[in-house]
């Protein structure tokens, strides 16, 4: 029986506890929050053996095999480090750390200790994403991806989160280097990172505060972001984050030399886009029918998953947790390759650096742009 602990008893901890309970061969031995009332409420609502307000005490007394870290991002590194040093495997919620250097250090520590670590990129394990991955691996694209487009939007109209964030100038999200972006975009960036082959892709980012937030007096929270990511002479990608765009897309498009795929995370639909074209007017009539048929197939698949009681909102999280526990039990590779975690972190670092530098005082802005142009010209020259 795998002994599991959860550190941080806020909203996402509920999702973890619910999904862990659906997995056989494990039990939640302890939960921990530095606010004892929060630890106690989770303990009271779920079958949990003990609750703690001190992580060191939890590690010493409960001796968990795995610790799920669901605290604010700024604490991930220190907590994960402590858990790994104690000999526990670590599932770290997204964003895994504040920067790539911290992620590298944690991965190095896990490997040195013979332990596993994973990041909470659970969207990567939703039903529809697994179907897409299987198609890509089967060679449907006709070769390595040529181009990808990942849209990961966020509706700031969500009252609970937005109100807390906008009204509280000391909110923990504001203390993150990438602020709101850092807390949200890793799911969308990880989708791209999965299909890149290099370790350090080039990134060009443009971010700004939306007119809506500016009108509310907000100057720090960048909620509009457009990014171009490229690997030299190979795959390119666009990443879009927007709080204002409607619909609030969570979509991924991947195009190969022969075919493409369009994944809609919200609707859990996966559409194959054929590269070949029909002749003349047939192109106007046959593809719409084929598309309609594909949507119907997606509907059938989704209903089937629902009837099989396997269509929970956090089904991806359950799959990721199960895969992670399996990798621990069988000493197999972790469900998310460490390279993918690091590439995601590096892309995010680069985005936040660029967004921050563009938000320097007016006088310094021209110089930054000039420097960027020189860097870009230099890299083209190479």
């Amino acid at each position: 029986m795998l002994k599991v602990a959860i550190v941080g008893c806020g909203k996402i901890a509920d999702a973890h506890a619910s999904q862990i309970l659906r997995i056989g061969g494990c039990e939640i031995v302890a939960v921990c929050d530095r606010e004892p009332l929060m630890a106690k409420q989770l303990y009271e609502r779920f079958p949990v053996r003990h609750y703690f307000e001190d992580l060191a005490e939890l590690l010493a007394k409960a001796q968990p095999d795995v610790v799920h870290i669901t605290t604010p991002a700024e604490t991930h590194y220190n907590i994960a480090r402590l858990c790994l040093e104690h000999g526990s495997h670590a599932y770290v919620e997204k964003p895994v750390t504040l920067n790539a250097a911290e992620a590298e250090a944690l991965i190095a520590l896990a490997e040195a200790r013979g332990l596993k670590l994973t990041a909470g990129h659970d969207d990567q394990f939703s039903h529809v994403t697994r179907r897409m991955r299987a198609l890509v691996r089967s060679g449907y694209l006709g070769g390595p991806p040529v181009h990808m487009e990942s849209s990961f939007c966020y509706d700031l109209g969500d009252p609970a989160y937005a109100r807390a964030l906008l009204s509280d100038k000391t909110h923990w999200v504001r203390r993150l280097p990438g602020k709101l972006l850092q807390n949200i975009i890793s799911h969308g960036v990880a989708r791209i990172a999965e299909f890149l082959t290099g370790d350090s892709p080039q990134v060009i980012a443009h971010g700004f505060v939306s007119p809506l937030l500016r009108g509310m007096g907000e100057t720090e929270i960048v909620d509009e972001l457009r990014v171009i990511i490229s690997e030299e002479r190979r795959t390119t990608a666009y990443f879009t984050f927007s709080s204002q765009m409607r619909p609030t897309l969570h979509e991924f498009r991947i195009y190969g030399p022969r075919n493409g795929l369009i994944l809609d995370q919200d609707q859990e639909t996966l559409i194959k886009v054929r590269g070949e074209r029909y002749k003349s007017f047939a192109e106007k009539f046959i593809p719409p029918v084929a598309l309609a048929s594909q949507f119907l197939c997606n509907l059938k698949t989704n209903i089937g998953s629902f009837l099989r009681r396997d269509f929970h909102m956090k089904a991806g999280m359950k799959c990721l947790i199960e895969s992670f526990y399996r990798s621990i039990a069988q000493n197999g590779p972790p469900p998310i390759p460490y390279r993918e975690i690091l590439v995601t972190a590096r892309i995010m670092d680069s985005i936040f650096d660029q967004v921050a530098s563009k938000r320097l005082p007016a006088g310094s802005e021209a110089r930054v742009c000039e420097e960027r142009m020189l860097v870009e010209m230099g890299s083209r020259g190479r």
Partner: protein, 346 residues
């Protein structure tokens, strides 16, 4: 000014948390009407104080409403807010849909507030404003202050409110903390257009009328505010719980008929109680069986609490607080419907 028997003087400081919410301005107004002249409103940094300012402007004769901005999750902000307060009326609550968020914004905040004030010499009373949602109504046909309270099966708000009441009671028992709990029924009035869930729900695109002949435990906002103020200052009621519902409660059917006549025509389908009970039971069982694929938003706890037939008593509030609803039910409903029409026209 209405003078009442009071544990504090007219110039003693009264702190109101959640002061910019639906109830806050009405409570501030009632305090000033009762002759209390020193009110501190604790508000979120981003909240608009326009409605509070309007209250202060209307009743500015030798009275002051001071606004203090802060976050109840911050112990420092709480200490700042409670300084010199004689009575604390704690309206602020977490209406969040997730259990941890609702709990944090109801229970952790209440703990912070109590910890900030419990050693304060000036403090005479802490009024914890709770809710009828805490009553399970599993066995009772008459809901009063002795009715059973429970969190099991309740939604996030119910869970948080039950735990908040437990926390306050525990402080009272362990430390002699001077508290009173007020549990309003369904508070209505201009500024809150939503129809109480006890009447029905429009989750599925058409208004499903679930209340039928049930009496709806309504309390008009100004009447409720008066009861809260009286609970804050009436001598000799430490540790007591008070339910607040008005007189002449309409049935759900009567309420809906008047709403359609006075606000807007809308389609509704009456769901008989046995059918709604069966639906809630089936939903609950499916939720269990499917390991939460559909969350148990409809369950027997909710049915008992919201749609089971019950009678409601306000005797204790009338006797011990000397409270009577000043605004009649018909007048309250007229004002509410006018507010709804105005909001829809806006």
């Amino acid at each position: 000014m209405n003078s009442v028997a009071s544990i504090i003087g007219p110039h003693d400081l009264i702190l109101v948390t959640g002061a910019t919410g639906f109830m806050g301005p009405a409570v501030a107004n009632s305090l000033l009407r009762h002759g209390f002249k020193n009110v501190r409103a604790f508000v979120r940094p981003s909240s608009s104080v326009a409605r509070l300012t309007a209250v202060a402007n209307d009743r500015c004769e030798h009275a002051r409403i001071e606004s203090v901005r802060g976050n109840l999750l911050s112990p420092d902000d709480c200490r700042m807010a409670v300084q010199n307060a004689s009575v604390i009326i704690h309206l602020a609550t977490g209406g969040d849909k997730s259990y941890p968020d609702a709990f944090m914004n109801s229970v952790v905040t209440t703990r912070n507030l109590i910890e900030a004030c419990r050693h304060q010499a000036s403090l005479r009373r802490f009024v914890n404003v709770s809710s009828f949602a805490v009553y399970t109504n599993a066995e009772d046909k008459r809901i009063d202050e002795e009715s059973r309270v429970g969190a099991i099966g309740g939604d996030a708000y119910t869970f948080a409110k039950v735990k908040q009441d437990e926390l306050v009671t525990e402080y009272g028992q362990r430390f002699g903390f001077p508290y009173v709990i007020v549990r309003p029924g369904s508070v209505f009035g201009p500024g809150k257009e939503a129809i109480s869930g006890r009447v029905g729900i429009d989750t599925f695109g058409v208004f499903m009328h679930l209340g039928g002949s049930n009496r709806i435990p309504l309390t008009y906002i100004d009447n409720c505010a008066d009861a809260i103020v009286l609970a804050g200052v009436t001598p000799g009621i430490e540790g007591e719980v008070f339910n607040v519902v008005d007189d002449d409660l309409p049935s759900s059917r009567q309420f809906l008929r008047q709403y359609k006549r006075n606000v807007k025509r809308m389609r509704s389908i009456y769901i008989p109680r046995p059918v709604s009970y069966a639906f809630c039971r089936m939903w609950e069982k499916y939720s269990d069986w499917s390991e939460g694929q559909l969350p148990p938003v409809f369950n027997r706890r909710r049915w008992n609490s919201e749609w089971k037939k019950a009678r409601y008593s306000n005797e204790k509030s009338k006797i011990k607080l000397g409270w009577t609803p000043k605004i009649s039910m018909q007048e309250g409903l007229s004002r509410y419907f006018a507010g709804c029409r105005e909001a829809q026209g806006a």
